[in-house]
């Protein structure tokens, strides 16, 4: 993938990541991968309905970002959100139960794959309309500044959302008011079936803030360490009161846009090349074995644990009952 590029070059941060940290990231990425594979399987079994957008291939982005955050920082994203929720520390059982539309789900079965939230983990959704989360994330940043609480908003969007007008309305206000927002553009190269070059007049998406004075950086989003290092810098920038910043994470989704997308708009070779040469999880596994003295057994243990957690979540999400019919009428309005 492309090397790191920036609109304004700044000194790269010193990589300072321990073997323990790398193992934790490996664990986190594996959990997302196994969770998503299982969700795909359960969709195939008819246990999950509607739209289901899997995050497989993009795990390094969210795990690298999350590692740079502090307690109280807020996160918002679009509908490809399962990975973000797991990275935020949300319970895989609660997420999977929401996918199966059961009462133990985070939204008690009323939101589904695309609409999940956790006040406790400061995860503000899970939004189904392309780009609509961007003003919302900007508003989270506004609230941090209003309260002067030293926290920041991390607002994720895809390469498909980058051409929505409200994204630029948000960039303008965020820069005008110096709001603490890190905009993370997850460029997985296709907005549904349309490649970036077929949708965007300029494909260097990290430049999209230039007109608003927002610094941007392009990052190898298939490398969790690169994602983390870029995240640390960007988060520092936002937290220091210097206003918003854009990270364009170059990444790739292995599966179709949603479960029913056969992905005919790209070649098998392209997908296979990404999977074999750039897989963020394989890459980190190699690194752990070769550079950090991790043992096969050790990693196998981690892999087994991820599988077990997911298996347990999948079982739980099938055993939990559907919402009570009375739930139909609850949560429309809060009691005044």
């Amino acid at each position: 993938m492309a090397a790191t590029r920036k609109t304004n070059r700044v000194k790269p941060a010193e990589p300072d990541v321990s073997a323990e940290t790398l193992k934790r990231w490996y664990t986190d990425m594996l959990l997302i991968r196994r969770f998503e594979e299982r969700a795909g399987q359960m969709y195939g079994m008819g246990l999950i309905g509607g739209f289901c957008h899997l995050y497989i291939g993009q795990e390094a982005v969210v795990v690298g970002m999350q590692a740079a955050l502090q307690e109280g920082d807020t996160i918002v994203t679009s509908y490809r959100d399962h990975g973000h929720m797991l990275a935020c520390g949300m319970d895989p059982k609660g997420v999977m139960s929401e996918l199966t539309g059961r009462r133990c789900g985070y939204s008690h079965g009323k939101g589904g794959s695309m609409h999940m939230f956790s006040r406790e983990k400061n995860f503000f959704g899970g939004h189904g309309i392309v780009g609509a989360q961007v003003p919302i994330g900007t508003g989270l940043g506004f609230a941090h500044r209003y309260r002067d609480d030293g926290r920041i908003s991390v607002t994720y969007l895809g390469d498909g959302a980058i051409n929505q007008g409200q994204v630029y309305e948000s960039f303008n206000m965020a820069s005008l008011w110096k709001l603490p927002v890190v905009y993370v553009v997850e460029n997985n190269r296709y907005g549904m079936g349309t490649s970036v070059s077929r949708a965007s007049a300029r494909t260097d998406l990290y430049h999209r803030g230039i007109a608003y004075g927002i610094q941007g950086e392009q990052v190898d989003g298939m490398d969790v360490v690169a994602a983390y290092e870029a995240a640390v810098e960007a988060v520092e920038h936002a937290r220091a009161g210097q206003g918003p910043i854009i990270l364009e994470m170059l990444t790739y989704r292995y599966r179709g846009h949603s479960m029913s997308d056969p992905a005919k708009y790209r070649t098998k070779d392209e997908v296979n090349r990404m999977r074999t040469e750039h897989d963020p999880i394989d890459h980190l596994r190699q690194r752990l074995l070769e550079e950090h003295g991790a043992g096969e057994d050790d990693l196998k243990q981690i892999e087994k644990r991820a599988r077990d957690i997911v298996a347990e979540a999948a079982q739980f999400a099938q055993d939990c009952p559907e919402p009570d019919p009375s739930e139909l009428w609850t949560d429309v309005l809060a009691e005044a």
């Binding site: 939230f117 309309i129 409200q166 599988r307």
Partner: protein, 464 residues
């Protein structure tokens, strides 16, 4: 232990498909994520990936087989170390696509975002807030403009999380001078001029509200709020439901709505029925100064998104307004603006004034009209309208909006459902004409409900 691979459903509608090709063969090792087979559906060819790790022990359905039902076992994967030759998948009941109706024994639940139990499945009864006590305290004579400003100032003094944002609300003191003096009192942190960017600042306000602030977002007029419609409906109104009650947007969207004067089609429209259509919103459209003040204060304190519809032609009208920072008007409660016996006239916002004038005219003709100022459009005070119709047996609805699918249409349905047997005549709607609002003075007058239209409609339903 061996596990079965089932024929997957690859779209919400797929029930069967064809195994086009086995990519792995028996005896081959399999890793999670490996492609096992290709499946043809009526729409496309898709790949089936392994979820478990092991060895492909058996292919149950050979390639080329068509019409394989979803959830049929198509292969068996043995765990590493298991004897591939010996493996027989353990027979098991086909997985249920439908959720079990009876709750199986529940082990542990994920941390519940909020308490679980609620009442039964039947639709909740229509809300009927308690009758507020008659205000007997001190009043001051104020314009609606001043009442709105005071309501905001009082709430901003009371609650540090309340702030005002919108176009020209700060330095300019409000395009319609509603926010006069607020910047001077509260400073630029809490009275914020936005760029002209309705979708952006509406969404930003909603995000801030999710985070626990209480924004008042002024639209210079509600005509411009159409730019922000997706945020108002999809983000503000629906999120509480979609989050299972975890997240609310305590936010007020306010500004002038309806017909102004000679500004033509793009700047003259009533949006009452648009917003009143949406569960998850509250919608108010007051007329008097007291109601503007009391309802705006209630709206700011309300934990839900409230659409607060004002009217440019009412801003300058003066009323006696309660001078008490705790004076509130409950959302969801109509007001009898004038008691009468022979015909009910419903109105809201500026049309209340027209209805009251029409009632004066009707009085001269010996018809006693009861005028109901609806004030709230969602929740709607069904009882107030039904009780009145049960007394008068006749009803006219008045609104500036278009008749089709308008507030009057909803009132017609409510009257059918609640008091059909009491009706002595069909409901009559007085509404804006079903055209974009024209500019020419004479045409504009024809397009907008006039006092004489209301009088004529009332006489028609009264058969006099």
């Amino acid at each position: 232990m061996a596990s079965e691979v089932l024929m997957p459903a690859l779209s919400p509608t797929m029930t069967e498909g064809k195994i086009a090709r086995w990519v792995k063969s028996v005896g081959e090792p399999v890793r999670a994520g490996d492609v096992l087979a290709e499946i043809e559906t009526d729409k496309a060819t898709m790949e089936v990936e392994a979820v478990d790790e092991g060895v492909l022990a058996k292919i149950v359905i050979p390639e080329g087989t068509d019409h394989v039902a979803v959830n049929t076992p198509i292969a068996v994967i043995a765990e590493n170390g298991e004897d591939v030759g010996e493996v027989e998948a353990k027979p098991r009941p086909a997985p249920q696509a439908k959720a079990p109706q009876e709750p199986p024994e529940q082990k542990e639940e994920p941390t519940s975002p909020r308490p679980a139990t609620r009442d039964g499945a039947a639709a909740p009864a229509r809300p009927a807030p308690a009758e507020p006590a008659e205000y007997t305290g001190k009043t001051v004579t104020q314009t609606v403009r001043e009442a709105l400003r005071d309501a905001m100032a009082e709430e901003m003094r009371r609650d540090e999380t309340v702030f005002l944002m919108g176009e020209e609300v700060a330095e300019y003191q409000g395009a319609y001078k509603i926010s006069q003096g607020l910047l001077q009192e509260f400073g630029p942190r809490r009275v914020i001029d936005t760029p002209i960017t309705e979708q952006g600042f509406a969404g930003l306000g909603i995000g801030a509200a999710f985070a626990g602030l209480r924004p008042i977002v002024e639209f210079m007029t509600f005509n411009f709020a159409m730019q922000a419609m997706d945020q108002l409906i999809n983000s503000a109104a629906k999120t509480r439901y979609m989050s299972g009650g975890q997240m609310s947007a305590p936010i007020v969207f306010r500004g002038p709505n309806g017909i102004a004067s000679r500004v033509a089609a793009q700047h003259s429209q009533c949006y009452a029925s648009w917003y009143a259509h949406v569960p998850g919103l509250k919608v108010v459209a007051p007329y008097t100064g007291a109601d503007h003040k009391g309802l705006l204060k209630s709206a700011i304190r309300d934990p839900n998104p409230v659409i607060f519809l004002e009217h440019e032609l009412v801003y300058g009208e003066s009323f006696a307004v309660p001078d008490d920072p705790e004076f509130l008007v409950p959302i969801g409660k109509a007001r009898i603006a004038r008691a009468g016996e022979h015909v009910t006239i419903t109105a809201f916002s500026r049309t209340v004034k027209l209805a009251l004038q029409a009632a004066e005219e009707l009085e001269k003709a010996g018809i006693s009209a009861e005028v109901i100022d609806l004030r709230s459009l969602r929740p709607f005070d069904v009882a107030a309208v039904a009780d009145s119709v049960k007394k008068t047996n006749r009803i006219v609805s008045v609104e500036e909006g278009w008749p089709f699918a308008g507030i009057g249409s909803e009132i017609a349905a409510i009257v059918m459902e609640e008091c059909f047997d009491w009706l002595d005549a069909p409901l009559k709607r007085v509404a804006g004409k079903d055209v974009p609002l024209p500019y020419a003075a004479n045409l504009e007058r024809l397009a907008v409900p006039q006092v004489e239209d209301i009088v004529a409609a009332a006489r028609e339903v009264a058969y006099r």
